[in-house]
Symmetry: C3
Subunit: 158 residues, 3 copies
Amino acid sequence: MKIDPELRYAISDLYAAYTACLDESRYDEWADFFTMNAWYRIVARENFDRDLPLSLMSLKGRGMMKDRVYGITSTIFHAPYYQRHIVSVPNLAIDEEGVILASTNYVVVRTKRDMAAEVYNVGRYIDEIVLDRDALKFRKKFCVYDNDLIPNSLIYPV
Amino acid sequence: MKIDPELRYAISDLYAAYTACLDESRYDEWADFFTMNAWYRIVARENFDRDLPLSLMSLKGRGMMKDRVYGITSTIFHAPYYQRHIVSVPNLAIDEEGVILASTNYVVVRTKRDMAAEVYNVGRYIDEIVLDRDALKFRKKFCVYDNDLIPNSLIYPV
Amino acid sequence: MKIDPELRYAISDLYAAYTACLDESRYDEWADFFTMNAWYRIVARENFDRDLPLSLMSLKGRGMMKDRVYGITSTIFHAPYYQRHIVSVPNLAIDEEGVILASTNYVVVRTKRDMAAEVYNVGRYIDEIVLDRDALKFRKKFCVYDNDLIPNSLIYPV
């Protein structure tokens, strides 16, 4: 199947909106970028490459996602920080069922109050995107990060 | 209003040309990316979010921009450095008057002589773009940066 | 000459595939992104700007490229590391002979085992791209890097 210009733009817009949502700390809107039963996972490259199940975060369905956001914003004690996402050019394909297979490199720069910006998380989004009631949504989003050593703990989704 | 493919490319080309101008230190050409009365501002995220007027740099009109460039290149004593801009996927919209509202994350990596590259300034361009005599120009360009703590002073526009 | 949408996508896809090849350490496939007699060069910005011939790496033709890859993967003793490329918006033009002149900023984040990610190499790709048997290939690819001071030695192509 072919990816026409309209679809290219829609995918680009999806990533732009997704990263803006996180970078502007609008965590309440985050789950809406996913289908109802989507799988969101943050996993180290070494585990991903070996098909190991261990993940830094693994959320199945919007319910778990909203729960996680509730935890972040209401219960977990942590020093807040800003994220800033930069995404690179995407690899795009469509499988026989019309699912968009998108993967793109990302880097997240983190800024804490009164500290210099730092490269915080870097890796590759490996995503499945589908049309869900006229809007593109992630059905699967794997954030496969390169750096084992994440400065302090990761609190927010990336 | 709709953003057609041609316009998408023109916007992408504008950012590519704008960042190349700065990264190649062609500061004399910098003001030409703006309309005559454009507002260029570099402002901390915290101030921007609270609508506070304090800015690191605030230039209204090409005259002030050229004056600033004259200062940089002719009068301010500073250790020169290279910039390298990376911009992410844009959020695009057009308002009812045909003004393009574009916002995109950016990261500037700075390199000084005999030093390692460092993430220098990271944030979001929040821009208004208009057609000015057949060319796209910034009517407003706000560089809203995350990191309060900018390593040394910021000399060049970003 | 004009760059139509189809060509824009094809160029974007080329960069996406090229960077994925390196980031996934598929070095054996790397030479296939080039024409038979292509010139691949990694050169410091200062040398490039002054037209000095000194390069960190300069490979002419796929033979030399494959030889280099053989060296990397089979003979050079080095601590392996991951690369992660982020590329920015491209500057595109076509010359009178139909050669695509593409230049785009890039940053490579490097991750070594049990170490934090670091900005490793940052600069500008200055490329010539041609159609070679129905596929876009690099005829010339110069990686002009800003940072003189590369943390440890550069082993892999960027």
